[in-house]
């Protein structure tokens, strides 16, 4: 079904090829897992299978041949390839094109010109399958939880019955139950005879589904395991290849707090004792009767909580539980009723804006100048007491990049630069929003080190993340939120 011969690919401006001499054959109806450490080229390989490489890339060099179902992809047009392959990219929410479940399911079939009655039948059939969990065709896509978004994205990619289904890290950002559900969905598809290729770094859930495991290293195929070998491999053996088996939630003590936004009952009730906190009663950032409404709906309701200074508080919760709303209130970007106090003193919104910082998920949004040096100087200007720019650059390993354009840096480097600006401006409250998404996993240690450094300087640090590995490394305690007004599908 899929055949690759001596495929190599070099991204524009890249020095080394991202894929080197890949030979791969996938028979019809098989499920093959592409795995390897982050940056090994598994997502890139997936993009050659759906033609995004080279057809969606402006430059870059591809050699070798890729054919899917007998179609030579380099010669084909993207819509031809799309008819043959269904793709689910990493963030389902970012690829939804329409507003409701039914429209999304019909989208590909409409574009490919399927007859309208056929589309309606197929949409009804697919929504009936999805609908066993209470989903209706008219449900708005924005109101779905991560797991449901993933299921709708898979159904939408598969609606026009392509022979091949490609999935890029489908389990990232999913809860444990949602991952089980995902395995079930893939099992059903496999039973229907679909050829499936999954790029993934979290492997155990695929154990009973995979026919083969292809391990990539540095853009080349390092090893291929049969299903039996894969099942026999211990987690330790996986770790040697930079792979992960199971992911367990990081055990962190819960912060004492009250409010309708909190997950009840406490995961660890014993730690809900205020005296367990190592800091004094008034140090830190305190939220008092904070309620935030959006269009008449309560999105956040925290009666009482204190984030201790000098510590990292992990903020967890499903989509729509108010994590980013909490970040925006704490930093003064959004108004809410109730009080926010620092060290016992109430703060106005404007003051909060002045003393706080966010390291955003997409750090490009907060890089304003044309060189790393200029970015640092802009952050340091007007604050005589801040640490020396050169020292901060040095400690973050950015000195060699001082003349580069911030937008030309890699994701991890951009993030370090933003952390540098935060440290230079000496903010008292710092929020990290999903800092490990889009960053090479090998740098997890360095990210958590950055976060700990900011906390060590005495700041109140909030870490919003789904990444249990990062939370285990960087978190001191946790606050788990849940949606106040129940969503359609929690």
């Amino acid at each position: 079904m899929i055949r690759l011969r001596e495929v190599s690919w070099t991204y524009p401006h890249a020095v080394r090829p991202s894929l080197r001499d890949i030979d791969l054959k996938v028979a019809a109806g098989q499920l093959v897992v592409l795995c390897g450490a982050s940056g090994c080229g598994k997502s890139t390989l997936l993009r050659t299978l759906n033609g995004l490489i080279p057809h969606f890339q402006d430059e870059g060099v591809l050699s070798g041949t890729v054919s899917v179902g007998g179609l030579a992809l380099q010669r084909a047009e993207l819509d031809q390839i799309g008819l043959l392959t269904g793709t689910v990219l990493q963030h389902p929410r970012r690829q939804f094109f329409t507003d409701t479940v039914a429209e999304e399911l019909a989208f590909a079939m409409e574009n490919f010109g399927f007859p309208a009655p056929d589309i309606r039948t197929r949409v009804t059939q697919l929504s009936a399958q999805l609908g066993q969990g209470g989903l209706t065709p008219g449900t708005s896509l924005g109101r779905l939880s991560g797991g449901w978004q993933q299921r709708v994205a898979i159904a939408a990619a598969w609606a026009h019955r392509p022979a091949v289904l490609l999935l890029d890290e489908p389990s990232s950002n999913l809860s444990a139950e949602a991952v089980d559900q995902l395995a079930q969905t893939l099992g059903q598809l496999k039973a229907e005879g679909v050829t499936i290729v999954v790029a993934e770094h979290r492997l155990r859930y695929l154990q009973d589904l995979a026919d083969r495991l292809v391990i990539l290293c540095d853009g080349a195929i390092a090893a291929e395991w049969s299903a039996a070998e894969f099942r026999a491999a211990s987690d330790q053996r996986l770790a040697e290849q930079g792979l992960r088996g199971e992911v367990c939630p990081a055990p962190l003590p819960a912060l004492p707090a009250t409010g309708a936004s909190l997950v009840q009952p406490w995961p660890e009730p014993c730690s809900a004792d205020p005296s367990a906190l190592p800091v004094g009663p008034s140090s830190g950032l305190e939220l008092d009767q904070v309620v935030c409404r959006l269009g008449g709906r309560r999105v956040l309701d925290l009666a009482q909580v204190r984030f201790p200074a000098g510590q990292v508080t992990a903020v967890r919760g499903v989509n729509g539980s108010g994590k980013s709303t909490l970040a925006r209130i704490v930093t003064g970007l959004r108004a809410a009723s109730g009080q926010v106090k620092l060290d016992g003193r109430p703060l106005s919104r404007r003051t909060r804006q002045r003393i706080s910082a966010i390291v955003m998920q997409d750090v490009q949004r907060q890089l304003f100048t044309d060189s790393v040096q200029a970015e640092i100087e802009l952050a340091a200007s007007g604050r005589p007491d801040s640490p020396s720019p050169a020292a901060v650059l040095d400690s973050l390993d950015l000195t060699d990049l001082a003349d580069r354009h911030p937008l030309s840096l890699s994701g991890g480097q951009q993030q370090r630069l933003v952390v540098a600006t935060v440290r230079l401006s000496g903010h008292r409250v710092v929020v990290f929003d999903e800092p490990s998404s889009g960053v090479d996993r090998r740098h997890l240690g360095s990210i958590s080190h950055q976060i700990r450094q900011v906390a060590a300087s005495g700041a109140v640090v909030l870490l919003i993340s789904h990444d249990e590995d990062l939370l285990a490394l960087a978190g001191d305690n946790q606050l788990t939120l849940r949606p106040v007004a129940d969503l359609d599908l929690g």
Partner: protein, 219 residues
């Protein structure tokens, strides 16, 4: 609904402004957008005061120019009210199906549908960049007045970079699912005028008749 929205989009002559404002507010009510339902008539009234009453208080050529601008803006506001309804309630699928039904060329229909999808994305990125600027203290009015171009460059460049990145997955996913394909697309639910359109049509007809029958006091 859509067809009606499209036809009333560019009312000519200020005599239709009150009618368009009423329509905009009513449509906002129908989708429970309270802010817009209240705000639209208020802004309209304020601009009407600026446009027609201000010259009475202080007759001066400059004020008259200002009044002219106001009376011009009031039309714009009236249209925006109806346009906002279109953006808020129409999905990209519905829009492109409607445009195709109106026999708009493929390039226009596809581009418009994609734009409708990108608007919230780019607006969200723009908002996030503004947030980041506020937290870095780069968004103050004083700074803006001193270095207007530099400040705006610092907004525009990250906004474009972030928008392009955010749009990448979206367009890749959509193109692979045949968006913009040269095949002839179909619509699962071909757009038809239903009874709500009839009701709106009647109401608009009523408003137009009312406008024409009332002697032009303001207009």
């Amino acid at each position: 609904m859509l067809a009606v929205s499209l036809t009333v989009m560019s009312p000519d002559g200020s005599r239709f402004v009150p009618a368009a404002l009423v329509l905009g507010a009513a449509l906002a009510l129908s989708e429970r957008a309270w802010g817009r339902a209240v705000g639209l008539p208020l802004v309209g009234a304020a601009l009407a005061v600026g446009g027609w009453l201000a010259p009475l208080w202080w007759p001066h050529p400059l004020v008259a120019v200002l009044a002219l601008v106001c009376s011009f803006t009031v039309r714009l506001v009236a249209c925006c009210g109806v346009g906002a309804h279109l953006i808020a309630t129409t999905s990209p699928t519905a829009l492109s199906a409607a445009l195709r039904a109106m026999r708009a060329p493929r390039a226009v229909a596809v581009t418009m549908a994609v734009m409708l999808r990108f608007f919230p994305v780019v607006a969200h990125e723009a908002g996030a960049v503004l947030d980041a600027m506020r937290l870095r203290g780069l968004a103050g009015a004083g700074r803006l007045a001193r270095h207007p171009i530099l400040s705006l460059e610092r907004f525009t460049v990250p906004m474009i970079a972030a928008s392009l990145r955010a749009s990448e997955d979206l367009s890749a996913g959509a193109i692979l699912r045949g968006l913009g394909s040269r095949r002839r697309p179909t619509a699962a639910y071909p757009p038809r005028l239903g009874w709500p359109d009839g009701a709106v049509g009647l109401a608009v007809g009523g408003l137009v008749a009312l406008t024409l029958s009332v002697p032009p006091v303001l207009a």
